[in-house]
Amino acid sequence: MTGIVTWARLKSPWILHMNCGSCNGCDIEILATLIPRLDAERFGVLLKGTPRHADILVCTGPVTTQMKERLKRIYDQMPEPKFVVAVGQCGSSGGIYQGSYCVEGGIDKVIPVDAYVPGCPPRPDAIIDGLVKLLAKIKEGDKNDK
């Protein structure tokens, strides 16, 4: 039974994209992974509109004070098991906005993160690579659980 669940999970990682105060650079690159040239859908990736349908939360931005609570709420609304990918330098560490009075400095200050994709912004191929690595990690993790 778990075999089927893992198989399904690996073949259809639905993502929810959330902007936590990014400069948009990372967001357009995330959208650019969906276009025909790279076609992230071949990995079963589908961009979803609601946290309740999503397996993977793809976050960008340094998490502004305003978005902090909202990020937590969105994370809580996602069904288990859930994974988080932090895209971009700001998502990983606060990046260029470090030291500002209203940024938290990285997604992992607020919610646990499973994969980081560095770059300012990372290329769309790098984002897909990050996602595929995460899938490999999920597969490994499931093997170890058995």
Binding site: S22, N24, G25, D27, G61, Q66, Y97, S100, V103, P121
Partner: protein, 400 residues
């Protein structure tokens, strides 16, 4: 029976129809929008304050990241400001390369917008088409600067990378292809039933209201307001570049679509002109690290409209005050006007119609009225003036 008049619906900050966090409180009467209240500030990152803590070279990279879509316009404004205070003349070749980037940025931004608008009306094919073509522009940008989004091309006194003959050839080749595609999109925009049905007569903004609410860029031009900073106050190399300012008088989302499609042609022609007349010579003038005391203001025509930057320096290597007014800020007021009287289902395309860029815009904090001398107290003009004089008097009396 419960009477369902004037229901308030919050949209955002995280909502499938919105690409960025913002919040609209829509008051509905049945399906009709009676009132729309906009709340912003979710992506406020305190950039203006950060700018004051970094030196002029570091700020180039920070200001570029005000917005990932129109990153070049912001640095363009910044370097213009610094160059005005330093009073340095930049080489002609650098001016041309800067203009080239401004136009490439407009191309990719308009293609991006058409895709997003198509997505909002459920026409995802258009999204796939335009974004595919946009990749070609991104390829050129990457070929010249080494980066797709934040190009780090501008520097104080000129640009950081030159354009080789190879690159020139590739740009001109791509322009031939993009012109064909733009012609195709023009066909699509005026003939495709999906677009006509969803965009015509939707999100009306009358010219007088556009002027009153100080709309800028394609939003204003689609309402027949003939403004374009490139022509009205030429910066970079626009003064010797022939082009036309596109306006329509349909005042609706369809007009905004048409203006942007036609601007693609203008941008392509400008790029051709620049490449065929590229002057030879240096690409950078030498600039000192410290900037003398002074003030400067600069505006450019960003893809979304007029972008204004203000800089005050105090003789050190860090700015004393920096202020940015982005086009989305100017256009946002008109959204609430456009929304009134439309249907709830049209809200996404109307909001997308101004091509909002919240990442750029969130630089303002609105405070609720509080008690005097407590946080959140709103000062009126007279109060503020007196407060300013007193503050400076205490600080050492610069203004008495």
């Amino acid at each position: 029976m419960i009477w369902l008049a004037n229901v308030k619906i919050p949209i955002g900050p995280q909502h499938p129809a919105l690409k960025e966090p913002e919040n609209f409180t829509i008051t509905l009467d049945g399906e009709k929008v009676v009132d729309a209240d906009i709340r912003i500030g979710y992506t406020h990152r305190g950039i203006e304050k950060l700018i004051e803590t970094r030196n002029y070279i570091q700020n180039l990279y920070l200001i570029e990241r005000i917005c990932g879509i129109c990153s070049f316009t912001h640095t363009q404004n910044y370097v213009q400001n610094v160059e005005t205070i330093l009073n340095i003349q930049i080489p002609r070749r650098a001016e041309y390369i800067r203009t080239l980037f401004l136009e490439l940025e407009r191309l990719h931004s308009h293609l991006l917008w058409m895709g997003v608008a198509g997505h909002e009306i459920g026409f995802d094919t258009l999204f796939m088409y335009t974004w595919q073509d946009r990749e070609l522009v991104q390829d050129i940008l990457e070929f010249i600067s080494g980066n797709r989004v934040n190009y780090a091309m501008n520097t104080i006194g000129g640009v950081r990378r030159d354009i080789s003959e190879d690159q020139k050839k590739k740009i001109l080749e791509t322009m031939i292809y993009l012109e064909k595609r733009a012609a195709y999109y023009k066909e699509v925009a005026v003939n495709e039933k999906t677009i006509l049905a969803r965009c015509q007569g939707v999100g009306i903004l009358k010219p007088e209201i556009a002027l009153k609410l100080s709309a800028v860029g394609p939003t204003a031009r689609a309402s027949g307001v003939d403004v374009d900073i490139r022509r009205d106050d030429p910066h970079a190399a626009y003064a010797d570049t022939p082009f036309q300012v596109i306006t329509t008088d349909t005042c609706d989302v369809f007009g905004r679509f048409v203006v942007r499609v036609l601007e693609l042609f203008e941008s392509i022609n400008i790029i051709r002109h620049l490449m065929n007349n590229l002057p030879t010579g240096e690409i950078k003038a030498k600039a000192p690290r410290k900037v003398p005391e002074g003030e400067a203001i600069s505006h450019t025509e960003a893809p979304r409209g007029e972008d204004i930057h203000y800089l005050r320096s105090n003789g050190t290597d860090k700015p004393e005050r920096y202020k940015v007014r982005t086009p989305t800020m100017a256009n946002l007021l008109s959204i609430s006007e456009m929304l009134k009287g439309t249907y709830l289902a049209d809200v996404p395309i109307i909001v997308a119609g101004i091509d909002p860029c919240m990442g750029c815009m969130d630089r303002v904090l609105v405070l609720k009225e509080g008690k005097e001398n407590q946080p959140g107290y709103l000062l009126d003009w007279e109060h503020l003036r007196r407060y300013g004089i007193q503050w400076y008097a205490e600080k050492g009396g610069r203004i008495q």
